[in-house]
């Protein structure tokens, strides 16, 4: 039983537990025990726990099953605060105390918990992608084959962001990135958003396992609500396919549902105002608008015919 292993760990410092240790516990004691341990160590109130009506497994969102990881999800509190808090609540997240190699290791350990995270690490290794894990600046992003992870992100949030940016790095290194000079405006916008949608689906697929570790993922770009919207479309398509062809394999159903949900629901988020640029202010600039303007800027440079 995993809990016995936990009790026998010698010389264990009290307080914060490292990501490696959390993963070990997850694989031996299960997520419920890990969640309890993390909560106890942090002195936090034990969160409400609820299950999906059906257990959501990675395989259901097009991913291979991962170790013993289950997908219990912690319900987020939706009640408004009763009392005022100090400060302004407008400056975003804070990355915590880990820096240097310890931070890199914590992020990579969290990535190793999920198939999507392993995929992201594989991308980084395959293409020798340089990663700045403590980027001091604005946001986190991929740029011409390098990944910049903002230092203000917690290791959990950084892992979620890595899943997203690894998609862009893979596209770039594979030579499949949208070419702003060669493509027409509409095709450029479509191709850019297709890559973004795939990157978001990667995050959705890695979300349940990463969250189940009990690590802080605030600011990591994925929420229960986005996943809820994705799964609603995914499951509707699944039911439709199962009804149409009872002999269709689970793998084929999952694959088709993933593609369908990505190309309809997730793609719509870049057009309907769900995702907007961080610079647009009250204008709420969608990414379909942004990529169009980006193309316009490239093709209307001074001196260009």
């Amino acid at each position: 039983m995993g809990s016995e292993k936990v009790a026998r760990q010698p010389d264990r410092p009290t307080g914060r537990r490292g990501a490696s240790e959390i993963l070990h516990l997850q694989r031996t004691a299960g997520n419920r025990a890990v969640t309890q341990l993390i909560g106890a160590a942090a002195g936090r109130r034990r969160p409400h726990v609820q299950r999906h009506p059906e257990v959501t497994e990675n395989a259901e969102v097009g991913e291979a099953a991962v170790a013993e990881a289950t997908t219990e999800e912690v319900a987020e509190t939706t009640e408004a605060a009763e009392t005022a808090e100090p400060g302004t609540g407008t400056t975003g997240t804070s990355g915590g105390a880990l820096t240097g190699d310890a931070r890199k290791k914590a992020i990579e350990d969290i990535l190793r918990a999920s198939a999507t995270g392993m995929w992201a690490l594989g991308v980084i290794e395959k293409w020798s992608v340089p990663v700045n894990y403590e980027f001091v600046g604005t946001g986190s992003f991929h740029r011409t084959g390098s990944i910049f992870i903002n230092k203000t992100l917690s290791p959990g949030a950084a892992a979620m962001v890595m899943m997203h940016e690894a998609q862009h790095a893979n596209t770039f290194k594979s030579g499949k990135a949208a070419d702003i000079k060669a493509l027409g405006r509409a095709e450029y916008v479509k191709k850019k958003i297709a890559d973004e949608a795939e990157a978001v689906v990667r995050q959705i697929e890695g979300y349940a396992v990463t969250k189940s570790l009990g690590v802080d993922i605030a600011g990591g770009g994925m929420t229960d609500d986005l996943k809820q919207r994705y799964l609603k479309v995914f499951y509707a398509k699944r039911d439709e396919l199962e009804k149409a062809d009872p002999k269709m394999t689970r793998a084929e159903i999952n694959d088709r549902c993933r593609t369908h949900a990505r190309d309809t629901e997730v793609t719509s988020w870049f057009h309907d105002g769900t995702f907007v640029t961080s610079t647009g202010g009250a204008a709420n600039v969608t990414y379909s608008d942004h990529y169009g303007k980006q193309w316009d800027g490239e093709h209307n440079k001074p001196g260009k015919k």
Binding site: A84, E85, G92, G139, T223, K293, E298
Partner: protein
């Protein structure tokens, strides 16, 4: 009023790589930002709209020429305003504008912060079932979101309702006439709302 332009090279160095490149090659725009109650220009907005994910950051210039990032750095803002000799806030409306500028300049770079005067200003987008429930609950029992700004014995009391990503919150400030923000607090009015997410 000092409107001395800022040196793009110094801004590029303050931002570091790779964002500094966009400043150095002219892709990013640098625009002065007026701070209510402060005569000289001490804050600039640096914005690159042409990268894959557009980015924006605010920088300040200290009297000794030092340039530092102000985004998500509220202490730096306080230091900058004090170093510039402080603000001269002459009325409640100016104090409210000062607070609004402070919030925009010091917001996290990936955090949407937008003051609203009415719930009609909220830009709804399609939401999950839970988000739609939160929206319905908010609209069924709407809070008073009108801004408040009034003079006090030692400055001004300002209250603003803010959209902060997917939540709505009421922020309160006690601001001295010289721009020092002596106290700030906030109360969450609603969260998990179907509002835009910055990426």
């Amino acid at each position: 009023m000092s409107r001395e332009p800022i040196d793009p090279g110094a801004v590029a160095r303050a931002l570091g790589e790779p964002l500094g490149e966009a400043v150095a090659d002219g892709q990013a725009r640098i625009d002065p930002v007026d701070v209510p109650g402060v005569e000289q220009t001490i804050v600039w907005r640096v914005r690159d709209e042409l990268s894959d994910h557009p980015w924006q950051v605010y920088v300040g210039r200290w009297p000794d020429g030092d340039i530092r990032i102000l985004s998500a750095e509220q202490e730096a803002w306080a230091d900058l305003v004090a170093a510039a000799g402080g603000a001269r806030l002459e009325g409640a409306d100016e104090a409210r504008a000062y607070v609004a500028t402070f919030l925009e300049v010091t917001r996290g770079t990936m955090v949407i912060v937008a003051p609203i005067k009415s719930l009609d200003e909220l830009r709804w987008r399609p939401g999950s079932d839970d988000e739609e429930k939160a929206k319905t609950a908010l609209l069924d029992d709407p809070p008073d979101v009108a801004p408040v700004s009034e003079a006090t014995d030692d400055g001004f009391h300002v209250e603003l309702t803010l959209v902060v990503d997917r939540r709505l919150q009421r922020n309160s400030f006690e601001v001295a006439r010289d721009g020092e923000i002596k106290r700030s607090s906030f109360k969450i009015l609603a969260e998990r709302l179907p509002l835009p997410i910055a990426r």
